[in-house]
Symmetry: none
Subunit: 196 residues, 4 copies
């Protein structure tokens, strides 16, 4: 891994665990095994580092969601896939995901609002994806007639909740992923056979 990449990875980890403000450039330099000026050779500054990490993470998110939309599936299959996708991403890049979950609100009104724009777009896409899936499910009679957007928000809440929980309590025994899928299924599908 190049030094530039090391800086990025280390920054993501420190920003995620300590917060953006609490991470100093000298600490970042030390933990990345470089000197401070080198950070400024590769990046414009601390904000630039933050922005790049956020942007890259959301990019990854967006392309994954796009990929998801192209694969046909049943209404609940789509929802299941979204839950699983979030879980997978959180396992692949836990630092970046936590960074987005925690630090973003704090930097919401920031300089160029880069973070806020990303978050809005992210919500827009996820809610759109879920709204469409739920709508389909209701139309086909598969789902109960739930309110569209509210339910989308609730499913998102479940997703965020388990991702957060997994970060703070790394307990491999609990199968939250499966439990979350079932929890949502039972709530949506009109069917006497629970957990089928």
């Amino acid at each position: 891994m190049s030094k530039k990449e090391t800086i990025l990875k280390t920054a993501a980890r420190l920003f995620a665990t300590q917060g953006f403000e609490a991470t100093t450039t000298i600490q970042l330099a030390r933990e990345a095994g470089v000197t401070e000026p080198l950070i400024y050779y590769h990046f414009k500054g601390k904000d630039d580092l933050f922005t790049r990490i956020i942007d890259a993470t959301f990019s990854e998110y967006f392309s994954r969601i796009d990929a998801l939309e192209k694969k046909p599936a049943s209404p609940f299959g789509q929802i299941r896939k979204l839950i699983e996708l979030q879980y997978d991403i959180a396992e692949e890049m836990p630092d970046e995901v936590q960074l987005i979950a925690n630090a973003c609100p704090a930097k919401f009104n920031d300089s160029e609002g880069i973070c806020a724009a990303n978050v809005r777009e992210y919500r827009r896409r996820l809610i759109g994806y879920l709204t469409r899936s739920i709508s389909e499910g209701i139309s086909s009679g598969e789902f109960a007639p739930v309110p569209l957007e509210e339910t989308a928000i609730l499913i998102l809440s479940v997703i965020n909740g388990i991702v957060r929980y997994g970060r703070m309590n790394p307990d491999p025994e609990k199968n939250l992923r499966e439990a979350a899928v079932n929890f949502c299924r039972r709530s949506l599908i009109i069917n006497n056979a629970h957990g089928s």
Copy 2:
């Protein structure tokens, strides 16, 4: 309101909206309409302010949960009441609630771990409350045979999700509170008649 209280309230608001580290004492003093040294006359320092806000908020939480446990209700009635309680508290003291939701993880390993201890106790109580309610519901045949703790965590996720959403998108038109109750009800109760 005394100047001491003004400082506390202002600190809660700033810590919640900007984060602990990003809030400077001079800014706090200005927005509270006092001089900087007065903060140090009434409090030991920035950390002390933070700790007191956290402690007071969790105290309020705990006493409310305790009060809840004393009122008898049906299994789902208990869960409904918890959801509504969280919503109410978030409306009463939105700054403090957001502060706990956002800043706490960042200060988790802090000095005396005051925040961490509170968060653990808080989770323990809520999960305990929910686990008992779910267990009762399953025993009485009212609820589907869901995994206890996982389901408790998922319900908590729903609660936290809507509280967070309500903070970031203050949209009085959406009735997330009612939607959340129904979402959980459908997922738990064995009953053909949805949304009744």
Copy 3:
């Protein structure tokens, strides 16, 4: 003891042990069992407290030296009495004496030079006293023909040295007082019988 006196005594102790600058008014208030504003009711401020302690201590010194001069004694008897006087004062008011020994040089160029003036006067009197005694002793053939002022300074050095030593090493077994008298006697008196 009145609160005013308590403040003075406590200030002398703290100034002596920690230094003037390192002693804060709040610490002084706490250790004296009063509140800060009371210090300002009785005294003009920290500097005023310092000045009064210094002045009172030197006053005491001066009146004691004056009293000494009035009692007739042999040349070495006079010197012996001065050594013993210093030792006595240091035991009576150890804080004040140490304050003068340590803190004064640091405040030498201070505001009104009150300390410096006192120190100069103090040196002038002691050196004058010793010079006269030595001069007498030489004239009478009792003392060796030592240089007057230099020897006076050296005797003062011995005095200051044992006072300082006694403060830092409170060791009642060593009889430094007697040893100092003998040390000076042997150096001054022309006589084969040492230590008589």
Copy 4:
């Protein structure tokens, strides 16, 4: 001289003349011709500066005393050399010597007791050196049978006294160095011919 050295030298001078507490970092920066943060780039802080100066000064002292012990001399020759050594050091590095003489007692109980440990070692060495010399002199019949340790302390007092005096009254006419040597010689040596 590098900026780092300039900071050290300036700090020694200011600490010595004004005291540690009364010297501010901004004043130190100005008088050293650097900016404040540079002090913190080269040193950990004000305390670190103080400690380093003290340590370096005592190191110099110790190595000089060690060198002294290796040169053979008569009992009084040894004592004479010690007096002259102290005088020399005080002329070479007057700031550092005064710093040790004045500021140390105030910082005696400080943080890691670095100063106290040095002072104890310093006293131990000097008193040991003097005790041995006096003991030799008494054994050989050259010295009067004076009490060992007390006399060592008194000689040290004479040394410290003239060093202090020389600092406060820079008067090149008085030959205190020679007077001190003679003062001690007369007090120790059994001999009718004084001042020979």
